[in-house]
Amino acid sequence: MVANGPMLRLLPRLSDDVAFYWTSGEDGVLRLLHCNACGFFIHPPGPVCPRCLSSDVAPKEVSGRGHVETFTVNHQQWIPGSDAYIIAWVSIDEQPDVRLTTNLVDIEPDDVRIGMPVRVVFEQADDVWLPLFTPEGAS
């Protein structure tokens, strides 16, 4: 069994532009910054929509469903004391060119497939809710 992630979660600063993202999981829902003018999801968040340059942007709920685009099983002790864990890039179903760097949980490395559907689960660490992903259909 691999770990859910490194033994120490190095956490983001909850600055005004990103706090919504890192705390969104408090109610179990993933949110991304969204352009109300053209409908584009903006990730990482920025002050304007990079597609249409509108500043009418606000967080918006997404389904939390996505697909594994690629992954790696980390064995190196970058963070001492860590067991092996799975890092992945997961694309968001609402806009697959948005990818989240994340951990895959409740799955063994040999069972991971690029293209497999996954859904978000959150791991709380202090005041941060980290979006991790688990196979679609897992309990």
Binding site: G5, L10, L11, T70, F71, T72, H75, Q76, T101
Partner: protein, 410 residues
């Protein structure tokens, strides 16, 4: 989108008139400034110049950058150590990878801001990491004292995606999925480097390596093993970038800069770049070929960044030496990239075995080969001629720069 046709690529007004390299080793225990002065004086002498001729300086990544041993001395320290009086100076970590410092120097020379620019890159990562290996982050019992992160690192650090090794491993895994890349194919980059390093007196790892050795090595982050990752070391590499007017004064062939590849047309981040199998190398490569009448078939040797083996195969495709997704079959068996192959690659051992001189070792070797000074490892092309065109690439992921060098003026 291309900026459109250029009348004359101004980088062709610049030549690399001299090259120099300090001692290179796993842990030399010498100061970065000391190594830099050694390399700089060697390069100045190689160009047939005196210290007083140098009127420009440039480096990567400049002041205060990165982890211990990574940055090398800032340019003001080197200027002062060598007593230079300058018309132009530069240093920085943003731009088309490590060779941005050479690019900036070439453009400064072309613009008449300077005539002879000392360009250097110095690392002391071997000594800085000490005998205990690379220091980890955090550690047990960190409690509330662990700092919080902002900027781009916040998107990967919480998930333990701490190192470029992790990000590049995902590029490699995606290539296995899309193109059927195998570990045995990837291993040819490491084996090729090791074979060539055996003929490089300054190389870090020279003992023979077999495919069995490669496949049995410790996994760092799948699919990358220890031998897919370059070897931290100490060393400084310097080149003198001069106006092409000096070419006839040299006692060796001038190395002309034929074209620079600088584009970054996709999104500038690892996880958001549109094509997970290429990234910025695709754009830098395309933009270089837009600036020259030469073609990939003209290239006699390629010195392609191998901080990680996956990056080298990305560059092979990005520079058009093989088609998209075809680098695996291209390097299969290793014959194509050997010194007597169709594309002699990383002929001093690259960074995997030669040592992580961070891009500049590759620039140095391209010049050595074009000047015919490779000794035992000199590439000789069919018909007995020495290389006339070399491609050099630095970086990977969202950071990439490339240039085409030629022997003599074109």
């Amino acid at each position: 989108m291309s900026p459109g046709p250029v009348e004359e690529p101004l980088e062709r007004r610049a030549v690399i008139s001299g090259i120099g390299q300090s001692a290179v080793g796993r842990r030399l225990g010498r100061a970065d400034l000391d190594l830099t002065v050694e390399a700089a004086l060697a390069a100045i002498a190689d160009a047939g110049l005196d210290r007083d001729d140098i009127d420009g300086i440039s480096t990567y990544p400049g002041m205060g950058a990165g982890t211990p041993g990574f940055g090398g001395p800032p340019s003001p320290e080197v200027q002062d150590a060598l007593g230079l009086s300058l018309n132009w100076h530069d240093g920085g970590g943003e731009g088309p990878a490590q060779m941005r410092a050479v690019m900036a120097a070439a453009l400064a020379v072309a613009a008449g801001l300077a005539r002879h620019v000392l360009v250097y890159r110095t690392v002391t990562e071997g000594t800085a990491q000490g005998t205990g290996g690379r220091p980890g982050i955090g550690g047990a019992g960190g409690g509330g004292s662990v700092p919080r992160f902002g900027s781009f690192m916040q998107w990967s650090l919480p998930f333990g995606a701490v190192s470029a090794a992790n990000w590049i491993a995902m590029v490699g895994q995606r290539r296995m999925h899309e193109f059927g890349l195998t570990r045995e194919q990837l291993g040819q980059i490491a084996l090729n480097g090791r074979r060539n390093a055996a003929l490089n007196p300054k190389a870090i790892y020279t003992e023979p390596m077999s495919m069995h050795d490669y496949l049995a090595a410790r996994i760092i982050t799948t699919p990358l093993c220890l031998f897919d990752c370059d070897a931290p070391c100490d060393g400084s590499t310097a080149v003198i970038v001069s106006h092409r007017d000096v070419a006839t004064d040299l006692d060796h062939p001038a190395v002309q800069i034929n074209a620079l590849g600088t584009a970054l047309r996709g999104r500038p981040s690892w996880d958001q770049f549109d094509d997970m199998t290429t990234m910025a190398a695709r754009d830098a490569g395309a933009s270089m070929w837009e600036r020259t009448e030469l073609t990939p078939a003209d290239v006699d040797t390629a010195q392609l960044y191998d901080g990680f083996s996956v990056l080298t195969i990305v560059w092979l495709e990005a520079l058009g030496f093989c088609g998209r997704g075809e680098s695996g079959p291209f390097i299969e068996g290793g014959a194509a990239i050997a010194r007597d192959g169709v594309l002699p690659l990383n002929t001093a051992g690259g960074q995997l075995s030669g040592g992580r001189l961070h891009g500049f070792g590759l620039i140095h070797e391209a010049c050595v080969q074009l000047r015919g000074e490779g000794g035992e490892r000199q590439v000789v092309r069919p018909g007995g001629r020495h290389p006339e065109v070399a491609a050099v690439a630095n970086g990977g992921g969202p950071i990439a720069g490339t240039m085409l060098l030629t022997r003599g003026l074109t």
